[in-house]
């Protein structure tokens, strides 16, 4: 038996029945990580992992332990694990050690989780391929000449390549769902406010959310349930408790937005998604064509609001408080050089866009307009959810692309998130579930629900996920 192929549930059963210990499980993963050439991890927290595994084994012996106890996981390197390096894949944080645990990490530790290491991401989670990482691209386990998607590409590749039983990622414009789709695993982006962002390195604060990447829907649910809920340290988190719901396909109203099946969607992806919609219809669901007319503006809206927030959030990397500090003649010189040398090309580009759209004379034309458009997008979804229970659509217009293929053209890279961005602007939850393949390359179906309807999404996702 290869221990690294087990799901959370299966590994839990094995631990319960004494077939193996958490230390056995942890060592199996650590060995596999050492042999792997995917570059999924930026750091391996071997000592921490073995220490946590021993503590978990003690708990397991007592007989009183939950599903996540003793199960090894990987954490995106934008989420802080106390006393471990946290780089956000940036040179500016290359030697930064996290002073405290993110709330999601405290919760996982409480549940007895074992943390194997920190996974690769695009720098400051800005990108769709991990090519913007300062520490090299992660390879897609299904085809090593291709990207795993991003920004949580290290987390998705780690789960798909059996280098972790599950992982945490973060999603600002698609960074959990798109890599999950490209790597053939399940990725859940929760409702804005469902999971605390405390200890997540900020990208765009009105959009950032932490969520699970796992081998199947059931495991995603287990992890989501463990990390969700109100946290005093994050004022945007809400009092929310996950309650399991059994939603069947029979009589379920599924909305299919016509704008998501237009130009740009690869025909083979469309075929797989349409086929899935048809299967749901055969199982008794009512398919309703819906319109989300403002979706056409979502990408432009996102690349104004996101960078505006980035330009404010990343101002803190000034060479004074922490991170890279370049010597300078005066304070301004320290700022200019530390930022100039510490940030990579995409981060600089977004800081520049953000500064531009917020600058005097352009604020109304760009930032204010984008906020109005965000409102239109929210209203589109609100109207849609008066008619339907869930929305089915593609996650990504194409499967995993070649490393380097889009690296030099920012707009063609931005288009990778065209179907994942609109619902983020409305703060809605969505999941990517693997439903088919083009050759070796996985394709995910996106299921979007109304606010805090993760239970409905997960229940239906469990019915449609491909069981290979």
């Amino acid at each position: 038996m290869d221990l690294t192929e087990l799901t959370i549930k299966q590994a839990h059963e094995g631990l319960k029945n004494g077939e193996f210990t958490s230390v056995d499980l942890t060592k199996a993963y650590l060995e596999k990580i050492k042999q792997s050439d995917l570059n999924a991890f930026l750091s391996v927290t071997e000592d921490l992992a073995l220490e946590m595994a021993e503590i978990a084994d003690e708990k397991i012996k007592s007989g009183n332990f939950g599903l996540l106890c003793g199960i090894p996981c990987a954490i995106k390197d934008s989420i802080m694990v106390a006393d471990e390096k946290c780089t956000a894949a940036s040179k500016i944080l290359e030697n930064y050690s996290a002073p405290y645990d993110a709330t999601v990490i405290s919760k996982l530790k409480e549940a007895g989780a074992v943390i194997l290491g920190k996974t690769n991401t695009d720098e400051f989670t800005m990108g769709s391929s991990t090519e913007n990482s300062a520490f090299g691209v992660t390879k897609n386990p299904h085809d090593k000449t291709r990207v795993p998607g991003g920004s949580s590409g290290g987390s998705a590749a780690a789960v798909a390549g059996n280098l972790a039983c599950y992982a945490l990622g973060s999603d600002t414009g698609g960074s959990i769902r798109q890599p999950a789709s490209l790597c053939g695993v399940v990725g859940l982006c929760p409702t804005y406010g469902a999971v605390s962002r405390y200890g997540l390195i900020a990208h765009a604060s009105s959009l950032d959310q932490i969520g699970p990447i796992a081998k199947n829907v059931e495991d995603s649910k287990t992890v989501f349930e463990a990390i969700c809920g109100r946290d005093n340290m994050d004022a945007t988190s809400v009092d929310y408790k996950f309650e399991e719901e059994k939603t069947g396909l029979k009589g379920l109203k599924i909305g299919v937005p016509k704008e998501y099946f237009a130009e740009g969607l690869e025909p083979e992806v469309e075929k797989i998604i349409r086929n899935e919609i048809q299967k749901a219809e055969i199982a008794g669901a009512e398919i309703v064509e819906i319109s989300l007319p403002s979706s056409q503006y979502a990408l432009a809206c996102y690349y104004i609001i996101g960078p505006a927030e980035i330009s404010a959030n990343l101002a803190r990397f000034d060479g004074i408080k922490y991170g890279l500090s370049e010597p300078g003649n005066d304070l301004l010189d320290v700022y200019l050089k530390s930022k100039g040398h510490g940030f990579g090309a995409e981060v600089k580009r977004r800081i520049m866009i953000g500064t531009y759209v917020l600058s005097s004379g352009y604020y109304d034309a760009y930032y204010k307009k984008a906020q109005e458009v965000r409102q239109l997008i929210r209203q589109d979804f609100a109207a849609a959810f008066e008619k339907v229970d869930l929305i089915f659509c593609p996650v990504s217009p194409f499967p995993a692309f070649k490393i380097g293929e889009k690296a030099d053209d920012p707009i063609s890279m931005y288009l990778a998130d065209i179907y994942t961005i609109p619902m983020k602007l409305a703060g809605l939850p969505g999941i990517s579930v693997p439903v088919g393949k083009i050759g070796n390359l996985p394709v995910g179906l996106q299921i979007i629900g109304n606010h805090f309807q993760e239970n409905k999404i997960l229940s239906v996702a469990g019915l449609v996920e491909s069981k290979e």
């Binding site: 503006y297 005066d330 200019l336 580009r349 520049m352 984008a370 458009v373 920012p410």
Partner: protein, 92 residues
């Protein structure tokens, strides 16, 4: 295309040092991205205006007890310090 001077002005506002070749690439990339934003001009104005956010979300202004070791770690992370103070370069 946005001018070199404009890129340099924005970079200065952003406190970002750019090398010459970065300025050139930024001119090209920013122009393409700003052109793409023109799409928003077509968007209608929202019918009803929404008040953003729930103002009651702000927490009470009170001191939360934390492990003092966290403060020590935060100070330790500063590149330049003296005792428990973080040193900052002269402004002028």
């Amino acid at each position: 295309m946005i001018s070199k001077e404009e890129v340099l002005h924005i970079a200065k506002l952003a406190r970002l040092e750019l090398a010459d070749r970065e300025v050139e690439k930024m001119q090209k990339d920013l122009s393409a991205i700003l052109d793409y934003f023109d799409l928003l001009k077509k968007a209608p104005k929202p019918a009803k205006s929404e008040v953003a956010g729930d103002l009651s979300a702000t927490r009470k202004d009170e001191i939360l007890l934390k492990n003092p070791s966290v403060a020590q770690k935060i100070i330790a992370a500063a590149p330049d310090k003296k005792d428990d103070y973080i040193k900052v370069k002269a402004i002028f």
